[in-house]
């Protein structure tokens, strides 16, 4: 899977590495700012209000 991704990318190894780092940064950004907050709201076991 990841080997296939590596072969799909164009250019010399350092260009591929650069592209992968950019992709990884984008994925992390999406996770930290959108996916994880959403997941946390679903499973998070805390409550701060009395009701």
């Amino acid at each position: 899977m990841y080997a296939a991704l590596w072969r799909l990318l164009p250019g010399p190894w350092w260009a591929r590495l650069l592209i992968l780092l950019v992709i990884a940064a984008a994925v992390l950004y999406g996770l930290f700012f959108y996916v994880f907050p959403w997941v946390s709201a679903l499973i998070d076991p805390q409550d701060v209000t009395v009701q």
Binding site: M1, Y2, A3, A4, R7, L28, L31, F32, F33, F36, P37, V39, S40, A41, D44, P45, Q46, D47, V48, T49, V50, Q51
Partner: protein
């Protein structure tokens, strides 16, 4: 010699052949393994986000938001005060607190300062205590139908103690007399911390006009902050009570309590 190189050559070609075959079709278990590793990494990342990374992000966002709100109010005030402002009420009589209208759900109305929690602590406050609309994205929530800061009665607030920037993380470290300052467009309301309490999650009587006193009309001005207890659990709630000290109109500038050394 020749025989040897031949063996070596055939071995290499065999190896290359093997490599080529794995290239052509990644094996089912190979992909499955990579997916499982990915899932494991994602889970660990989520835990790291929940415990640390998300808090750095959330706290930074909230402090920045609080600061920009303050600056905007100060800016608006400076712009509106074209005529010479009435001399700061230097009289001894403390200013009568201005009571803001109750905010709509998720509408930001104030910024909270607690010097005990750090010099750069200024977290936005908004109406409502729903997690998705107020507590997670904005910070501190104001229980609907409780009074606004400065009012007679009990101003009730809630915020996270862990995760999402954890505005009330250090609530258990408050000392008696610590200032808790709420800034609104009108000015600053200084409360003084009095005591902590641990209650059951259904103890709504902490929100009463006089906390936990049914059918008693309030004469004092109180502030009640609720959060989760123990940290990361929801079995109980931690409650911090404070009492009103003074109101400082915006024309007088920020009170000293906002930076009080702790």
């Amino acid at each position: 010699m020749a025989e040897e190189s031949e063996t070596w050559g055939s071995r290499r070609s065999r190896r290359e052949h093997a490599r080529a075959s794995t290239r052509r079709g990644a094996s089912f278990f190979g992909v499955l393994g990579e997916l499982l590793i990915t899932a494991g990494v994602l889970t660990l990342l989520f835990v790291a986000w929940q415990l640390w990374i998300g808090d750095w992000i959330g706290a930074a966002e909230k402090n920045a938001a609080g600061q920009s709100i303050t600056e905007q109010w100060q800016h608006e005030f400076a712009a509106s005060a074209t005529e010479p402002t009435p001399a700061p009420s230097a009289t001894n009589a403390p200013a009568e607190p201005v009571i803001s209208p109750e905010p709509k759900d998720a509408q930001v109305f104030g910024v909270m300062y607690i010097p005990r929690f750090g010099a750069d602590y200024h977290v936005p406050m908004a109406g409502g205590v729903s997690r998705p609309r107020t507590l997670d994205p904005i910070g501190i929530g104001h229980y609907p139908d409780t009074p606004m800061p400065g009012s007679v009665g009990n101003v009730a607030l809630a915020a996270h103690r862990t995760t999402f920037g954890k505005p009330f993380n250090q609530i258990a470290k408050l000392h008696v007399g610590d200032p808790i300052v709420i800034e609104t467009k009108a000015g600053w309301y200084t409360y003084r911390f009095r005591n902590l309490e641990y209650v059951k999650p259904d103890a709504v009587d902490v929100l009463l006009p006089v906390p936990q006193e049914t059918r008693v009309e309030a004469k004092g001005r109180y502030l009640t902050m609720t959060s989760c207890s123990p940290m990361y659990f929801k079995t109980e709630r931690i409650v911090a009570y404070s009492v009103f000290e003074s109101f400082t109109p915006r024309a007088d500038g920020a009170p000293a309590s906002i930076k009080e050394a702790s």
